[in-house]
């Protein structure tokens, strides 16, 4: 009953005209972010975060969260119609989505992806509603050693999922950690790597780096791949009037796929570092291996589209659990969301739901509403998004540069931060080009200061002994889970014959 009354309270907070308006704007913008190839939710969140500064905190976080999970809906439209994933979490949706469209079933595929996304997202939010308070309860026994180990777990999982380029992932993470050490050391007051600059005393600000790496860096990379030269001739046409809706067979044959995809996606989403891309690829592989007709996968099988779609949406909900209850972001997107929370003076962690019930439950309640809104938007506004796909990238690209630059400046009215953003964009492009992981860098930049503080507190508690990590039961549990993940995740990927390298492409 407590959960129910909390949820009702959350709904009463979320349902105000202005909050609903921002939620709808966020859902719509999220879909646009998802539709644009090369831009994932991390880029969308980073670029649009400064836009929320003039807003009420609850409305701002509701809008940013809607952008985050809305991108999962939008990314599939291009996967189906153009054989191009709008973002990496919808790569698996191209495997059967595009063949379905080529068979003349684009309409049913678009409706089924919207329905699957809705089911995945809603099951994910229901599980958050039930599990977040429990996670919060458990995490209250956590101290600095556990927080340090959780940060290590998040980084290790991400690096394991990077796969073949893991050494470059480690280097990327170390760069992020190094950038995180810039500024005044809060314990001793000593300046580190500030070189006498007053601008650097507070440290290197997260937002310009995130906007540069994910926004500008991805844009440069898209130009490098020639995206700005390509037209929209490859879009599969779909019939809006006839054969648009799925058949009864489509619904019946995928009902258990939706359940399996939602649960698997949510579990993977909760694991720090794994993310929606891995969840969708795993769900696709699992569904194929469980199917009576695995040979049909890849030729336009509806279950092959529904499985990754439910999984990536459930995973995006699952990733909110470690963020809300531990204050540990599991991906680059949730790292940007964490930055948003911090900007609003909110510190997610074990006591967050207890101390900020209106905020936490308002956000959770808004996710129910957001998923409903996205279901409607993604079915009825498809023609609008098809129009968006047709906007040439050579026109869209320079406009993105403008939003990145002015958005960065608007945060602190700092030209230095704007220049840092441009610099990060150029570095981000080369990182992307040469196989480095911008997602690992950003995650390390956020987790680095948290990990350093936790490690130093741990060492102070234990008087310099690392034995503390195996003396405490919660620490031992985290170490056990970390080892299991590091061993099992690559095996699961191999089992699924999927590319783990997809994980780091967007850091979703």
């Amino acid at each position: 009953m407590d959960i129910f009354s909390d949820l009702m309270m959350g709904l009463s907070v979320a349902i105000t005209p202005i909050n609903i308006l921002y939620l709808l704007v966020g859902a719509f913008v999220g879909m646009i972010v998802g539709v644009i190839p090369g831009f994932g939710p991390s880029a969308g969140l980073a670029i649009l975060l400064p836009v929320t500064f003039g807003m009420d905190p609850i409305a701002a976080i509701m809008m940013l969260s809607a952008i985050y999970y809305g991108a999962m809906y939008g990314g599939t439209i291009t996967s189906i119609l153009l054989n191009t994933p709008g973002e990496s979490a919808t790569v698996a949706s191209t495997f059967d989505g595009f063949p379905l469209a080529k068979k003349g079933r684009a309409g049913p595929a678009l409706v089924m992806q919207a329905a699957a996304s809705f089911v995945g997202g809603t099951v994910g939010v229901i599980l958050i509603t039930i599990l977040a308070p429990m996670f919060s309860q458990v995490s209250r026994s956590f101290g600095p050693p556990e927080y340090f180990l959780l940060a290590v777990m998040g980084m290790l999982t991400l690096l394991v999922m990077i796969g073949a380029n893991w050494r470059l992932g480690v280097i990327s993470a170390l760069i992020g950690f190094a950038l995180g050490t810039v500024g005044v050391d809060l314990e001793t007051g000593q300046s580190r790597y500030t070189f006498g600059s007053a601008e650097l005393i507070g440290g290197i600000y997260f937002i310009p780096i995130a906007i540069g790496l994910f926004g500008l860096g991805e844009l440069f990379y898209a130009f490098y791949t020639g995206l700005h030269k390509s037209g929209s001739g490859g879009i599969v046409q779909y019939d809006k009037e006839e054969r648009f809706w799925p058949t009864a067979h489509d619904w019946m044959s995928t009902r258990w796929t939706m359940v399996r995809g939602s649960i698997l996606g949510f579990i993977v989403g909760v694991i720090p570092g794994a993310g929606a891309t891995i969840a969708s690829l795993m769900a696709y592989s699992t569904e194929r291996s469980m199917s009576k007709h695995p040979e049909k996968f890849g030729t336009g099988e509806m279950a092959g589209l529904v499985a990754p779609e439910t999984a990536n949406n459930a995973a995006s909900s699952g990733a909110m659990i470690p963020l809300l209850t531990l204050g540990i972001p599991g991906s680059a997107s949730t790292a940007v969301l964490l930055a948003a929370f911090l900007l609003w003076g909110l510190r997610p962690g074990p006591l967050f739901m207890e101390q900020n019930p209106e905020f936490a439950w308002g956000l959770i309640a808004s996710m129910y509403l957001g998923n409903m809104a996205l279901l409607a938007i993604s079915i009825f506004a498809i023609p609008l998004f098809v129009l968006m796909i047709k906007v040439p990238y050579r026109v869209l690209g320079p406009s993105v540069v403008v939003v990145c630059a002015l958005g960065t400046f608007s945060v602190n009215a700092s030209f230095v931060e704007t220049y840092i953003m441009f610099g990060a964009g150029i570095v981000g492009f080369f990182m992307r080009l040469y196989g480095f992981s911008p997602a690992a860098l950003v995650l390390a930049l956020v987790l680095g200061p948290l990990a350093e503080e936790a490690l130093r507190q741990t060492m102070a508690i234990s008087r310099g002994s690392f034995g503390i990590f195996i003396e405490r039961t919660p620490s031992l549990w985290i170490i056990g889970v970390t080892i299991a993940l590091v061993v099992l995740l690559p095996l699961m990927n191999r089992f699924g014959k999927t590319s783990p390298g997809e994980a780091e492409k967007s850091g979703s």
């Binding site: 790569v91 480690v170 050579r394 403008v402 630059a405 150029i426 492009f429 040469y434």
Partner: protein, 186 residues
């Protein structure tokens, strides 16, 4: 072999490994193509230099332990710096031993370098002319180069986007727009 092949860049083949072999062989043999592996090595060497400097400062300026024997401000930077140097060296050695040459079309660089240069000019213009004027100039020049022959469309985008962004940031959100150092007489 990683080459660009038209619209395939927009497909699910980000590494363009589906390029036709015959075409790939012809293009790879062309002297205009550069070895991207060498460029990655250059990139790693830059990181190595930065890591060495970072570690040097950590050892020279920052104490490993505090007076009370607790981890000091140099504890984390020294660990990160040493790990960074080791990993970069390891990757450099692996890259140098690897004979797999990855080549790319220099034409792909043209638009990226151009866009980077325009972005850097935009950064300078923001300081000089302020948010609105700099954005109009940036968009007008960039679209004139990238979206040739569509004068009316370019003019509309170059005016409407800065106008919309100005309204959103300055009027609706009351956020900061870059002020001009010099006001243009318009």
């Amino acid at each position: 072999m990683k080459l660009f092949c038209g619209r395939s860049a927009r497909s699910t083949d980000p590494d363009h490994s589906n390029v036709r072999p015959a075409m790939a062989a012809i293009m790879a043999g062309h002297p205009a193509y550069r070895d991207t592996k060498h460029m990655r090595i250059v990139f790693l060497v830059v990181f190595l230099a930065a890591a060495i400097y970072y570690t040097y400062v950590a050892f020279i300026d920052l104490n490993f332990l505090t007076r009370t024997g607790r981890p000091g401000p140099g504890f984390f930077p020294r660990s990160i710096g040493i790990l960074g140097i080791l990993f970069i060296l390891w990757t450099l050695i692996v890259d140098m031993r690897d004979n797999d040459r990855e080549q790319t079309d220099p034409a792909r660089w043209r638009d990226v370098v151009l866009l980077m240069a325009l972005c850097l000019s935009y950064a300078v213009m923001l300081r000089l002319f302020g948010g609105f004027i700099a954005t109009v100039i940036f968009l007008a020049i960039t679209l004139m180069i990238l979206n040739r022959g569509r004068l009316r469309q370019n003019a509309m985008v170059a005016i409407l986007i800065p106008g919309g962004v100005y309204l959103l940031f300055d009027r609706v959100l009351n956020a900061n727009m870059p002020p001009a150092l010099f006001d243009l007489p318009i």
